[in-house]
Symmetry: C2
Subunit: 377 residues, 2 copies
């Protein structure tokens, strides 16, 4: 059976990228690498829509999140943490692990954050030094209103807006400099179409000033050290060379397509997917602001979502994501970020219709596919 | 021009491993990955010569070193740090970054540590909680006497021996359990023949007890969390999947060759290389205990080592390593760890003879090659 990957990370890696990474390894302290890294740095600034340096860390996305927390804040610092899913929880765990005092802005899973609640929490906690949030909460498929939150934090000199952009960067527009975002983090295995193993972090000038003030212990994720090396087209420690070479290739692909077109493609695939699942009588898990990165769909009442996911895999060789924590078995998540085009979506919607049919759900075969074709035509 | 890589990391990646890593990416939360990871865990225990779990971190080797420091020790703890090269310095920097109070056992670059000095420092600092040392100091090509140091630490219940085995594991025998080593760290891009991006850490029971007691902030490198996930054939955060797949392949290769044969091969290549350079009238940088991972050679008096390194690259497409810090330009380092066999060594010794000749050093062409052939015949 052929294999299909429709989970929101890792996402499929283009064949040309796989092959380029399979070339003999090169040494990172030689000119060939530095020349390539210089182009990578420029490509990342384009992708992040920033003039700032985008640091390349050899780590999972979580390592990039840790770098943000350990470099900007210090033990005892108060921060506002938006929790409306698994990855919001991760911000909270990280802040607690580093001895910060998080104030939680909790929202139900499936709902976007309310900026007014964040403004209120900042007003109530005038010593708060940051707002930590996801741009796209991968566990629920919901976008948080980053632009609106940035309007609140931008005018506060002592408050940094720290955004986990792991399923946002390269999916939808989030111009870091224009909106006044202070930290953006992403990972390699999402819209960047690479295997996991690289994390990226960019900091505003405000954020760099906070780095100077924070006394938290850090070494591997010491961002100032990374910045200093990057300016010489290097990394302080041996980087994941093969992934950086792949990165060079994907950044060229993204630039060739053009960021606006990349965003438009994601939006088009997302809209079509949402239309198709609704046409099948299913409900989106996102109550509002669905993310263009992935579509989280409620499993029909009475159906076992884990069995549904298993059906996808066993009958069609297709991996989709299930729900995490308390929504385990209750939602499935279909990715359309990264190396996806309209043709791919027929596969996953086709598999969804047939899997539901197989499990006894009264789906009219073709109903989703029809809307998909209409939306993509 | 063809390209040749003889630096002590990254080392060449076998073609079959490159191709296996170029297969379409799989999802890490699915059975296919967990099944593979179970075999990886077993292969790593074999490689580390331990019954303990060997944790797989998505990071450079330095990330593994940080994990050891931040999990075992706490702010204010006294530790003995062996410094006899660049990587000994790194242990020191890490300890200082995390607020420890290191007591330095400094030895000149090019010399192995004296275990009696370490015993004395532990006697003088009875509150010391660890000894941090390299098994093979990559910057100098010297092995430190780990077995002798382990005899000193093994009888002290409150002192952990923490070994950077980055150019030792898979090069020469260092049976962790038998010798009573408490922490062994390595990286993927050395004897493991993979691209950089994975670090490995194994802890003794004594070390795990110390983890329970240390209150240092950590999250991404929280080793207890990694242990708990590993026991379920998982990692707490998205791992560098393609590198883990390559790891599965190299571990099979190492097991097929047999660890004893792997060690013997490294020793044979190292002995032949050392014999060849001496036959050319050159001097080893290691005053004693040269490592089987690499051979550091003194650049002849009056010759510019940076120009010599450049000659290798420009005339023969060959990357060797130079010296770091105060020995920059004064030594060159030739690797023979990982995917090397006798045939490879003719290339590097041939290039060394011709490069020296080109630069006016009175080498008798063939003198090194002759000894190489004699030693390898």
């Amino acid at each position: 059976m052929k294999s299909y990957l429709f989970a929101p990370g890792p996402t499929p890696v283009p064949e040309n990228v796989l092959l380029r990474m399979a070339a003999p390894i090169i040494h990172h302290r030689e000119k060939a690498f530095s020349d390539l890294f210089e182009e990578v740095r420029e490509g990342l600034r384009y992708l992040f829509q920033t003039k700032q340096e985008v640091l390349v860390l050899t780590a999972s996305g979580t390592g990039g999140m840790e770098g943000a927390v350990s470099n900007l804040f210090a033990r005892g610092d108060s921060v506002v943490v938006v929790r409306a899913g698994k990855f919001g929880q991760r911000w909270g765990e990280l802040c607690e692990a580093f001895g910060l005092s998080p104030v939680y802005a909790d929202f139900p899973w499936g709902e976007p954050a309310d900026p007014e609640r964040i403004r209120q929490l900042l007003d109530d906690n005038p010593s708060a030094k940051g707002v930590l949030v996801q741009a796209s909460e991968t566990s629920t498929g919901v976008m948080h209103p980053i632009r609106e939150i940035a309007e609140i934090t931008a005018s506060r000199d002592e408050v940094a807006l720290v955004v986990d952009g792991i399923t946002a960067v390269g999916v939808f527009a989030m111009p870091m400099d224009d909106w006044g975002i202070d930290v953006v983090v992403t990972g390699s295995q999402k819209a960047l179409m690479l295997p996991p193993g690289l994390a990226f972090v960019a900091l505003s000038e405000k954020a760099w000033r906070m780095v100077e003030a924070s006394g938290t212990s850090r070494y591997y994720f010491d961002l100032k050290k990374h910045l200093k090396s990057a300016q010489k087209n290097q990394t302080p420690y041996t980087p994941a060379i093969s992934l950086v070479i792949g990165l060079h290739e994907v950044l060229s692909m993204l630039r060739e397509e053009g960021l606006e077109n990349v965003f438009a493609r994601h939006h088009r695939l997302a809209e079509a997917t949402r239309g198709a699942v609704k046409a099948m009588g299913l409900e989106l898990f996102a109550k509002a602001s669905p993310s263009d990165a992935l579509t989280a769909v409620k499993v029909p009442e009475g159906m076992d979502g884990i069995a549904l996911k298993k059906t996808f895999l066993e009958r069609y060789g297709m991996v989709v994501a299930g729900g995490q924590d308390h929504v385990k078995g209750k939602i499935i998540r279909i990715a359309h970020l990264g190396y996806f085009d309209p043709m791919d979506m027929f596969q996953v919607i086709g598999a969804l219709e047939m899997s539901l049919h197989k499990m006894g759900y009264p789906v009219q075969l073709g109903s989703g596919l029809k809307v998909l074709a209409e939306k993509l035509a």
